[in-house]
Amino acid sequence: MADDAEPKESPEGEDTEEDGPIEVVLFKSNSCAFCPRAEEVLRETLTDFGGGFFVLKVINVSENPEAAEEFGIFALPTTMIGGVSVTGIPEPDMIMKMILGAKVSSKRGASK
């Protein structure tokens, strides 16, 4: 599957707007056997949660190794949400926890 979007500027250190979409980043590669399933799980889970609240960015490390190097990510698949990451095919519960964590930190950031 083609990448949904080119990686943009680092989301690190920037507070997401309180009601803005949460950025979910998946790092994958052409040769990674587990990556297609990880992408499937992510897409299904995000759709179940309400697709409009998320932006899924898929970074193909085979084509863009610099992006993985920038974030120090070398085990694939890795899912990154709001400054935390999980490696391997994620379980929906874990994705939910990460999203809630990102939401809490963005609210904290907004109320500062």
Partner: protein, 248 residues
């Protein structure tokens, strides 16, 4: 050159080539193992520095432990200016150390991953620089970053094969934990490499230690089976082939 003749890569460590038939076999994976403070990183970085400055072989350093700043500072003590090599595009330093601020905090791991990202990152630099030497310093840190050691073991083999396929010589460093009999935390380090060098810094009296080096194995080479004296001098590591150490 025939495919069956072993081409040698000069190590850049004075005295070491004499013990191993002129250098490491090109395209091999060599493990430098030793306890903390034995000089593993210095030897690996010296291999890269000398390769770039004396043998026209650009290199890639992948640091999983120390920050590039510390590495550059440490090597400058021996007059080895790594930063200058980076600017001249003879060396790339891949910073995957914990000191990197933008790395997200890993909160979960499932046993369904591979190291294809690391492979892509390294091969990208190898291609850009035309690198002939790659150092990964140190394997041990991965044991603390990931719980799934079985996956890591398998992935190391794939990674080493992929890097060396085109004739790039790969050096891996491995820290031997205290009170450990093997060559590293994964217990497969010796199988992974076709050459194994062990560095020692043993106490020889209550007030002094002695550094030494042992070529534990080097496939396809007649190598010394003795333990030789080694010192860390102002110019980096130097081996004394004629001096047999009593320290190890």
């Amino acid at each position: 050159m025939s495919d069956f003749v072993i081409e040698r890569v000069k190590t850049g460590i004075p005295g070491l080539d004499e013990l191993i038939e002129g250098g490491f076999p090109r395209g091999d994976t060599i493990l430098i193992a030793g306890r903390a403070g034995t000089g593993k990183s210095i030897m690996a970085n010296q291999f890269l520095y000398k390769g770039a400055t004396e043998y026209d072989e650009p290199g890639v350093l992948v640091t999983l432990e120390e920050s590039p700043l510390l590495i550059k500072r440490n090597m400058m003590r021996f007059g080895m200016d790594l930063d200058a090599l980076v600017k001249e595009k003879k060396l790339a330093i891949v910073d995957l150390s914990p000191s990197k601020e933008v790395t997200p905090m890993k909160i979960g791991e499932y046993p369904s991953f591979d190291l294809s990202g690391l492979e892509a990152i390294i091969l990208n630099h190898v291609k850009k620089l035309g690198a002939k030497r790659v150092v990964i310093d140190t394997l041990a840190i991965l044991a603390y970053k990931f719980r799934s050691r079985d996956i890591l073991r398998e992935e190391f083999f794939k990674l080493a094969a992929s890097i060396t396929r085109a004739g790039t010589t790969l050096i891996l460093t491995s820290e031997i934990p205290a009170h450990h009999d093997g060559l590293g935390v994964f217990d497969i380090e010796a199988f992974l490499a076709s050459g194994v060098i062990v560095l020692y810094n043993e106490m020889i009296s209550e007030t002094s230690r002695s550094r030494s080096i042992e070529i534990l194995k080097l496939r396809g080479s007649k190598h010394s089976s003795r333990i030789h004296s080694m010192r860390i001098t102002d110019e980096g590591i130097r081996v004394w082939p004629a001096e047999i150490s009593s320290g190890a």
